[in-house]
């Protein structure tokens, strides 16, 4: 799935990485607990989260992710957006709640992917 399809499905606004919406992504995870992202994520390229601080971007960078979707209409501060631009990440914000955002992406073919310990 291309990131621009995620934008359409979630009626999302692009906050960073507007030039990278043609990037293909194959799996995603939804998580607010960054410790768990670090513990279990293996190959997920998209992180859906309601957590809204610079550590979200650093965690995504550590896990080689390509795109962060802030759900529940959350908009991170400019420092977070700048950090994402610096690392080539796409940042989206959507009014969808976590459950429905994940559901829409999954239903349209964006898989969960495998996790560590699988």
């Amino acid at each position: 799935m291309k990131i621009k399809t995620i934008v359409e499905l979630l009626n999302a606004e692009v906050l960073a990485g507007a030039d990278k919406l043609d990037t293909d992504v194959h799996s995603a995870c939804g998580c607010d607990l960054l410790s768990d992202v670090l513990a279990f994520v293996k190959e997920q390229a998209v992180l859906l989260t309601g957590m809204c601080n610079p550590q979200v971007v650093r965690t995504a960078v550590m896990m080689d992710m390509r795109c962060i979707v802030f759900v529940r209409g959350k908009v991170p501060g400019q420092d977070v957006i700048d950090l994402a631009e610096e690392h080539g990440l796409v940042i989206l914000t959507s009014d969808e709640r976590m459950y429905s955002a994940c559901g829409k992406l999954y239903q349209n073919g964006l898989a969960a992917g495998s996790v560590i310990d699988d």
């Binding site: 670090l38 513990a39 610079p54 550590q55 650093r58």
Partner: protein, 141 residues
């Protein structure tokens, strides 16, 4: 004769949580530039990130040294914080003494030390209450 390692040193600022992780992001970039494989880079940088976060939460920062040998990478993170009174307990998944302010930022779930152990081949912790903690982690290439 063992070839001298490439050495990288970082001072970890403990004053605010916002900048925590900057050293790990830097080392990730450096390891990529010197051609280390992506899988190794990810393991090293996650382990260092977890440790860096811990140092900022609990120990007011410290130092991180990364030595890259031809066959291994050794991470040494040293602080002069309060030390870990019960290391066995601290190693258990889910055990945490992090304050609520940190939990509300997505950390403090008690996964840090277990994660560091999981992502590295050898982990050694020397800690003394009131003196500080030194964590040494090795990842073989």
């Amino acid at each position: 004769m063992t070839k001298e390692p490439l050495r990288f040193h970082f001072d970890i600022c403990g004053e605010n949580f916002t900048s925590a992780g900057e050293a790990s992001v830097s080392i990730k970039r450096i390891l990529r530039q010197i051609g280390i494989s992506p899988d190794i880079i990810r393991r090293v940088s996650i382990a260092m990130y977890e440790c860096e976060i811990n140092m900022v939460i609990h120990a007011n920062g410290g130092t991180a040294d990364v030595d890259v040998y031809t066959d291994k990478i050794i991470l040494t993170l040293k602080d002069e914080g309060p030390g870990i009174p019960d290391l066995e307990l601290a190693m258990q998944e889910g055990y945490s003494t992090a304050p609520d302010s940190i939990r509300s930022l997505g950390f403090g779930a008690g996964m840090g030390l277990p994660n560091m152990k999981k992502y590295t081949d050898v982990m050694d912790i020397k800690t003394e209450v009131g003196k500080g903690t030194t964590v040494t982690m090795t990842v073989f290439l």
